[in-house]
């Protein structure tokens, strides 16, 4: 029991243990809820509330991703509290505006710059997930587990351009 508590309180687990946990969650999602894991889809449902106001006759928000509190939206709420629970268990929960030393050495220490880049990064990532048909969870994991070719095409593209981007960002420090 003490051993278990010590493990739970650790800030980081082996990626194999955490990955196996995600795997079990992925299976349970199909078994109990007849759904797939995903994160970007929920954001599209939420974006639809704004999109509908800007363009009331939009086909995508009218028929494909409607402004609704769907399963993926609730899943996002769960992920949020899961992150909170995880950080509380290790005592690392803390309100902060920027906490990465490595980010500072790569991009500079200005907070506004990080906030701007995360905003732009968020737009790029969500837009790309829309094109691909899902993100790291909704397409790579959920599609990959079903052996859908889409997932492996996405993963290949993601790693190729990710490595290229890191090369550009880090330059000589890559």
């Amino acid at each position: 029991m003490n051993w278990l508590m010590t493990q739970i309180r650790k800030e980081e687990w082996s990626p194999y243990v955490a990955g196996a946990l995600l795997g079990i969650v992925g299976i349970l999602t199909v078994v109990v809820a007849h759904q797939l894991l995903g994160a970007s889809g929920g954001f599209e449902n939420l974006a639809a509330y704004i999109g509908k106001v800007i363009s009331p006759n939009n086909v995508y928000f009218g028929f494909m991703m409607k402004p609704e509190i769907t399963y993926p939206v609730i899943l996002l709420v769960g992920i949020f509290f899961g992150g909170m629970l995880g950080s509380l268990s290790s005592g690392t929960f803390k309100f902060r505006t920027m906490d990465s030393e490595q980010w500072k050495s790569a991009y500079g220490k200005q907070t506004w710059k990080r906030w701007l880049l995360l905003f732009v990064g968020g737009i790029v990532v969500e837009f790309a997930a829309g094109i691909a048909g899902g993100c790291t969870s909704g397409l790579a994991i959920s599609g990959g587990m079903l052996l859908a070719p889409a997932a492996f095409l996405f993963i290949g593209g993601m790693f190729a351009s990710g490595i290229g981007t890191a090369l550009l960002v880090y330059g000589k420090k890559y």
């Binding site: 974006a47 399963y71 899943l75 351009s161």
Partner: protein, 183 residues
């Protein structure tokens, strides 16, 4: 009831992301610098476990696949290529940003989540202008590799699991990762 499942499973998902350390910028950035393979280990382990779960469960008639992500070769690949730029540059993806937001990271809560919303709005508003055409290129529909190539799913899973194990061995035992340069 489904919402309760969503909430509970979401919490476990968030805990997994938090405990894997993937809510931290350096974990994601360093995967693409090839100095830290947490992302790959986490993803491939999850994939092997899920594959070993869903295919046997379906063969036993206990589940059906809820949906199969559509394969449209160019779109999946181009989407992945753009996604990688954002993920490596910002050091997050939608799931890890939401879990990180729950840890109290205000930079994930405010600009991060707003960025996803704006990205979603832009995608939806521009959908009709390019997505139907893009999805038509190399479209195989909602297909899985075993059906496409007429092979046993278990053979495909075995090959993938073997690939994962060889990769894990090379990374952990042979030190196949790059050493981080200090500077």
């Amino acid at each position: 009831m489904t919402y309760i499942y969503a909430l509970v499973l979401g919490v476990l998902f968030g805990v997994a992301l938090n405990k894997a350390g993937l809510t931290k910028y350096h974990k994601i950035a360093n995967q693409f610098r090839l100095t830290d393979f947490t992302v790959l280990k986490f993803m491939m382990t999850a994939l092997v476990v899920t594959m070993l779960g869903v295919y046997p469960l379906r063969a036993m008639g206990l589940i059906t696949f809820p949906a199969i992500p559509e394969t449209y070769v160019v779109g999946n690949l181009v989407g992945g290529l753009i996604f990688g730029v954002g993920m490596a540059g910002a050091g997050f993806c939608p799931g890890t940003a939401v879990a990180g937001a729950g840890e109290g990271k205000l930079d994930y809560i405010v600009p991060g989540l707003l960025g996803f919303l704006v990205g979603g709005v832009i995608f939806g508003l521009t959908y009709q202008s390019f997505m139907p055409q893009l999805k038509a290129i190399g479209n195989f529909g909602s297909v899985v590799i075993p059906d496409l190539w007429h092979i046993s799913p278990y053979l495909a899973i075995f090959v993938f699991a073997l690939m994962a194990l060889v990769l894990f061995y090379l990374i952990d035992r042979m030190g196949m990762h790059r050493k981080e340069k200090k500077g």
